[in-house]
Symmetry: C2
Subunit: 179 residues, 2 copies
């Protein structure tokens, strides 16, 4: 860890969701390079699985892709918020679901080439319905699908979101590993 | 498509890898919101699979996470470059491999909440060795692993890259689907 030596750093944008730095760096192996880095405080996402195997997706408009997006409940972590707590919060706010079990699936870097965002992915089961509490700028539809239907939506290009495709694929591996 | 109405747009950074826009948008459902959007010209990634089932990973330093990263060969598309051609180019440049077969696996949005990057993921087989041609600012190690070893590296947190974890998980599903 901490292998690069920062020669100079310039913050070109400090926003609500992202910060952008342009850094001059001496990297291992003797490379001096200018790197554009999007800084992000980290995200969580949750695959909710009902007792009958149906998984829950939410649908909302996402301006960067200018389209309604099917995805698993997800969001940014608040400052200092533990991933597990953030996952529990997003699942309630976006999908109106409270899980008795919340299992970590995998933790990963979303785009290590230009961004420091870390994603914590969870699997939620034993789901109880509670009133959803979307943010002021969120309009969210919540639908439960059989896993095979969601997989067909991936194959058809109707689900295009990275974390959602990964979560569904992990669930397919789990299904196929059952004795 | 094209559901949001842009009220105003401000480009706060125009770089080599990313652009950053801060846009005021009227979104479907009557929401007016300020959105920070990282613009990216799109990426490709390739899972190379040898005839014996071993998969090929490359290891290189990635400044945004300040760490050596194990990942499948990948990179940005050049302007106007077809995804398939970009995948072929990156596989040769980074891993020194030329595939007889290059199959599209999935196309997805890496982070639709704040970024418009589209990733095209491929699977390469019938691999022939050629001299690698890394960029001036790249120092790359190339290693072939059995799939089970790579999966163990994911479980141990040694592989943390999103596209790589997705590609390995898709490969595991394919393996388990074999008759």
């Amino acid at each position: 860890m901490g292998q690069g030596r920062v020669v100079s750093s310039r913050r070109v944008y400090d926003g609500r969701v992202v910060q952008l730095d342009v850094d001059e760096v001496d990297e291992p192996g003797g490379v001096r390079a200018t790197r554009e880095v999007v800084r992000h405080q980290g995200s969580v996402a949750v695959l909710p699985v009902h007792a009958d195997g149906r998984i829950v997706l939410v649908r909302q408009y996402r301006y960067p892709v200018d389209r309604e997006v099917w995805e698993i409940p997800a969001g940014r972590r608040d400052l200092g918020e533990e991933p597990l707590e953030a996952a529990r919060r997003e699942l309630e706010e976006e999908a109106g679901l409270r899980p008795a079990h919340l299992e970590p699936l995998v933790e990963y870097d979303t785009s290590p080439g230009f961004c420091d965002e870390v994603m914590h992915l969870f699997r939620a089961t034993s789901l109880q319905s509670v009133p959803p509490r979307p943010d002021d700028d969120e309009r969210i539809e919540v639908v439960a699908f059989p896993l095979e239907v969601a997989q067909a939506m991936v194959a058809a290009g109707e689900i295009r979101d990275a974390k959602t495709i990964l979560a569904l694929t992990l669930e397919a591996v789990r299904e196929r590993s059952k004795p």
